[in-house]
Symmetry: C2
Subunit: 279 residues, 2 copies
């Protein structure tokens, strides 16, 4: 199958008109630097749609002033190969000016969910995510869109916005892809030194142990505090390791509803996130 | 022609499906209390569309805590008559729960435009407007939507959001309808005492005089300051009387681009707004 590349709104609409005559359109928005995790999202979208559109856009508005926007890996040619191998029909790789023309000033905010967990550590991040994803969904108008559970809070924010704005798209969550040692796949893993790379899987191990402790009856705040201590002793700087309601991301006291254990921790200059279900 | 009434999203979608088979759909969102000004919007929408949908929703999120949400006039039966006479096919009069189901938390903000003029005096007002109008446009998906120039800043905010989010609708501005003495038609005029009603047209007169002064070469800040003095001397409490860029609403120094003179002033317990083109 051929993989086409479009770089602006007008070409996107023309290409989409052709794809729509063939059947349903699935959509996987990405920031590029595609790895096997992204490939799994594209494959999942392809199972549900005749054609899959992948967007590649490193969205400046979801990076903070001291974050890694400028050094975020960019490799369109390799990304095209990955997208093609995974079954995509079209890559939309717009410029910032195509997404945010001069005078652009609208922002979309998913309410309180943008202030907790990663939202507390990355002010404005989820407003940037909500705005660009809503824009992309309104441009592509897919029947389904696939997001990875790796960015679990992002997934919750997008579900919220799609529901609140009645956007006519089904949001599909794809499970986290992991390296053989358990480290969640992430474009940012490329920043890790060989030494850090050896330590990084401790994040997932700690998530699993913490869930085990909670299931064995340990109060969840005690279990997560022990997890933070363990990670800190191994050289991580932990932003949070917390149990939240799996749908609303509200803090929880009891375990009556599905919960999600989420972690963000720095290893040297790299910030890693991960999460697992607890339900 | 028959006028149907629907009160929730599901019935709206069913009714719209029927209307869409007949041709294009025009849309006029209102807060009810329809007067000849609204009728002119509906007629304008009808000129451009096979069928016109009118929404009647007094949106709680665009009223401040001390504003007139609870006393805002509600009269569905009379509104239905007005809408029908003006040529509407469908009235969508949802409950707050239909527009904002439990858990709703997304908000849309049109950037800096929400902080100036009325935005400075009514914090959060334009975010409420932007959010509910975007929601209504995404539910009705009309080809055209008509908004009155009476709420000029609202019109600019909506144009901005529609453009920024690529919403597939043409926004049409309808000129202000005025009583014979020049007072801009408004549902809030009903709050005026007979005495206040006699004074109220001075707002429009002052707008016209101020424009005349500016066109005669008076610096616009001097002309508006004189206008404020005149209105104050007649018992108005003026929130603002200012000249702004007609498209961006930015402050302007020169008159090279189309400008708009906007005013908001209290007369007793009633806040009146008005504006005229300059350029």
């Amino acid at each position: 199958m051929q993989l086409n590349l479009v770089k602006n709104m007008a070409d996107l609409q023309q290409a989409l008109a052709g794809l729509r005559t063939q059947g349903s359109v699935g959509f996987v928005p990405t920031m590029g630097a595609l790895h096997a995790g992204h490939a799994s999202l594209i494959k999942l979208a392809k199972e549900r749609s005749k054609n899959v559109v992948v967007s590649i856009f490193v969205n400046p508005t979801q990076f903070g002033p001291n974050e890694d926007f400028t050094k975020y890996p960019k490799m369109l040619e390799k990304d095209m190969e990955t997208a093609k191998a995974a079954g995509a029909s079209l890559v939309y790789a717009p410029s910032a000016g195509d997404i945010y023309p001069e005078g652009f000033s609208t922002s979309i905010s998913a309410g309180n969910m943008n202030k907790i967990l990663d939202g507390a550590f990355r002010p404005g991040h989820f407003d940037g995510v909500a705005t660009v994803v809503a824009k992309l969904l309104l441009r592509v108008v897919p029947q389904v869109a696939v997001f990875g559970e790796k960015d679990y809070q992002q997934l919750c924010v997008i579900r919220r916005v799609v529901q609140d704005l009645d956007l006519p798209v089904e949001i599909i969550a794809a499970p986290i892809m992991r390296e053989t040692d358990g480290l969640a796949m992430s474009s940012r893993n490329a920043y890790l030194t060989p030494e850090e790379r050896k330590t990084a899987p401790e994040i997932y191990k700690t998530l699993c142990e913490t869930v085990k402790h909670i299931k064995a009856g340990m109060p969840h705040r005690q279990a997560t505090a022990e997890g933070v201590d363990k990670l800190s002793s191994m050289g991580f700087k932990v932003d949070y390791l917390e149990l939240h309601d799996a749908a609303t991301l509200n803090s929880i006291e009891s375990l009556e509803r599905p919960a999600r254990l989420l972690v963000a921790a720095w290893l040297g200059g790299t910030r890693l996130i991960d999460n697992i279900a607890m339900g």
